[in-house]
Each structure stands twice: as structure tokens, then as C-alpha cells.
């Protein structure tokens, strides 16, 4: 599979995850979000950027539990809870946010 | 607990580390190339005999036979068939395979 953004083609796997994470950019993210019916707000970008930083540092997409805890530590307890994250990404912060962030599906995410 | 070694003692250090780690009262089962340690004349035989002081030693008969080594099994080694292998696994709560 593939998606097209600004005339450039990006490979995705059969579930729509970007094949080459280094190809990611904000326009790609916007299209991936659109496909997920997610309307990107500042709060969404905050989580996406956090996920990308986490991946750069640890080379994994964190499990939801880990993401929730780490976000709470960095952005405050009002954001470090699953209710907040699921409101932003109804189909799961792990699955949906990782896809928009151009990361692989979190290890252990079914 | 049960320890399983499947590598030749002259190829890998699995047997050495296993014997040094295993606590008294445990069992050691030799399978596949691990059975060479249980044969007379092998450089590891002394080590294995010494280990009999704190571990019960077993070897899988089919693996010794397949290697033509069943005629020189070290004294004190208990031979088991596949049924015996299963019994050992079920008799012990945990098992570490020294792969």
C-alpha cells in the first residue's frame, strides 16, 4: 500500500503504518490523521511529538500504559491518563497515535 | 529445579555455567550433544562426576544411542527415555534450558 502527499508517494504496510519512519513529516501526519478521522489539534501534536521523541530515544513505540505514565511525568497528570489520551485518539493512543506519528505498531499491541 | 544442557561440553560453556549456577538438590538432564559430557573419557567427565555430589544427573538414552556412545556411559548417570524426560519436567516446578 501507499499514500500520496504533495506529489510524493509513501509506502505503508497493510495496516497503514508508514514503512520507512524516516520519511515522516507533518504533511504525512496530517493525511494519516485524516484517514483516521482525527482532527489534529495542538493537544494531538503534543502527543505525536512526544511519541516521536520517545521512539528516537528508545527505539520502540511505548505500550499505552507506559505512554500514559511518561506523558504524565512530562506534560502533567491532567494529560497522563488514559481518558485524556483516548479522547484525542478514540481507537487507542497506541495504535492510532503511533500510526500518525509514523512509528511502527507498539510492541505487544494486538 | 531442573536444568537441561543440550550442548557439547567441548563446544560451549553451557555445562560449566550450569553446574556452577545450579543449587544443591537440583537435577541436571543432558540431551542432544549435551550427552557427550556423560561419557567415559570425555574431558568433562570429571566435572560431571564432581557435580553428582550436589545434583542428580540424567541423560537421554536415545541421544546416547544415536551417537554410538551408549556403551560408555559414566557411572552414576541415570538414563531416561522420552517418558522419563517428561516425568522430570513435570516433577520440577521450574526448568532452565542452558541453550
Amino acid at each position: 500500500m501507499a499514500i500520496e502527499v504533495n506529489g510524493k508517494t509513501y509506502e505503508t504496510d497493510e495496516e497503514g503504518y508508514l514503512t520507512d519512519i524516516s520519511e515522516w513529516n507533518e504533511d504525512v501526519a496530517k493525511l494519516l490523521a485524516e484517514q483516521e478521522n482525527v482532527n489534529m489539534s495542538e493537544q494531538h501534536w503534543e502527543v505525536i511529538n512526544f511519541l516521536r521523541e520517545y521512539y528516537n530515544e528508545f527505539q520502540i513505540a511505548p505500550a499505552v500504559r507506559v505512554l500514559t505514565k511518561a506523558i504524565g511525568k512530562k506534560l502533567g497528570p491532567e494529560k497522563g491518563n488514559s481518558q485524556y489520551l483516548y479522547e484525542l485518539f478514540p481507537y487507542g493512543p497506541g495504535k492510532q497515535a503511533c500510526k500518525i506519528a509514523g512509528l511502527p505498531k507498539p510492541t505487544g499491541c494486538i | 529445579m531442573l536444568h537441561i544442557v543440550n550442548k557439547s561440553p567441548l563446544d560451549r560453556c553451557s555445562l560449566d555455567t550450569c553446574i556452577a549456577t545450579a543449587q544443591p538438590g537440583g537435577a541436571l538432564l543432558l540431551i542432544e550433544d549435551g550427552v557427550y559430557a556423560a561419557t567415559r573419557g570425555n574431558a568433562a567427565a570429571g566435572k560431571l562426576t564432581q557435580a553428582m555430589g550436589h545434583l542428580k544427573i540424567f541423560a537421554l538414552k536415545a541421544d546416547l544411542e544415536a551417537r554410538g556412545m551408549a556403551d560408555r556411559v559414566l557411572e552414576g548417570v541415570n538414563l531416561v527415555d522420552y517418558g522419563g524426560f517428561v516425568d522430570l519436567v513435570t516433577e520440577h516446578a521450574t526448568c532452565q534450558s542452558w541453550l
Binding site: - | 549456577t21 532452565q96 542452558w98
Partner: protein
């Protein structure tokens, strides 16, 4: 697994990092199984201690560098990492060479801990 049934899991890692897939596989199993909230510990013995030798640079191999992921283990509440003293010595390594905080134990001490586990997973 339901609550109140916390079991002790020990992962025993004995293989060098890139020669076989054991190290990476073990790490992935640890991360996946962390979702079950069990009492997890990792033991690094024999060549397994090389998995934690800091400074992996896998660019030349063109494979993913999974070493940074060991630093994420703490986020997954996996913080009992035991390293075999004899294995470090035999390889000219010290605790300072390890990429994450570890507890250095003798083989005998690791063997005693192994006896207290509900489940031992061998890699």
C-alpha cells in the same frame, strides 16, 4: 492473568547480541509480557553480558540498534537486572561498561534467585 496472582518471572539471557536473534527476541518478549504486571527479573550470564555492553553502533551492519530499548525497561517496571560476575570478568568487562544500572551477582547468587522463581524463561 488475574490480579493477586503475581508470579515471579526470570528471563535468562546467555547469548551475544548480534550473532543470533536470541537477545532481540528476549527483549521483545520482556516488553510484551510486561503488560501482565508480573514480578520480572532479567539475568545476563555468559555471552549474554555482551548484550548490555554500552556503545552499540549498528550502522555498519544496517540493522536496527535495539540497545537504547534496554533503557526503556524501567518505564515498563522492569528494573531487576542481574549480571553474572564471572562472565564480566572473563570478558574484561566491568559494571561501568553496562548500558543500564545492574546488580552484579555471582553465579551461585543468580542460581539461588533462580530457585525462587515461578517461571524461568531461557534465551
Amino acid at each position: 492473568m488475574s490480579e493477586g496472582q503475581i508470579k515471579k518471572f526470570m528471563y535468562v539471557n546467555r547469548k551475544a547480541p548480534h550473532g543470533t536473534v536470541y537477545a532481540l527476541e528476549s527483549l521483545e518478549v520482556v516488553l510484551i509480557a510486561a503488560a501482565f504486571d508480573q514480578d520480572v527479573s532479567l539475568a545476563f550470564m555468559d555471552d549474554g553480558v555482551y548484550q548490555l555492553k554500552k556503545g552499540f553502533n549498528t550502522k555498519g551492519l544496517e540493522v536496527k540498534n535495539f540497545q537504547p530499548t534496554y533503557r526503556a525497561l524501567d518505564d515498563y517496571d522492569v528494573n531487576k537486572l542481574y549480571v553474572e560476575k564471572e562472565a564480566l570478568e572473563a570478558r574484561g568487562l566491568t559494571e561501568d561498561d553496562m548500558v543500564v544500572p545492574v546488580e552484579v551477582l555471582s553465579r551461585t547468587e543468580i542460581g539461588k534467585l533462580m530457585e525462587t522463581q515461578d517461571v524461568v524463561l531461557s534465551f
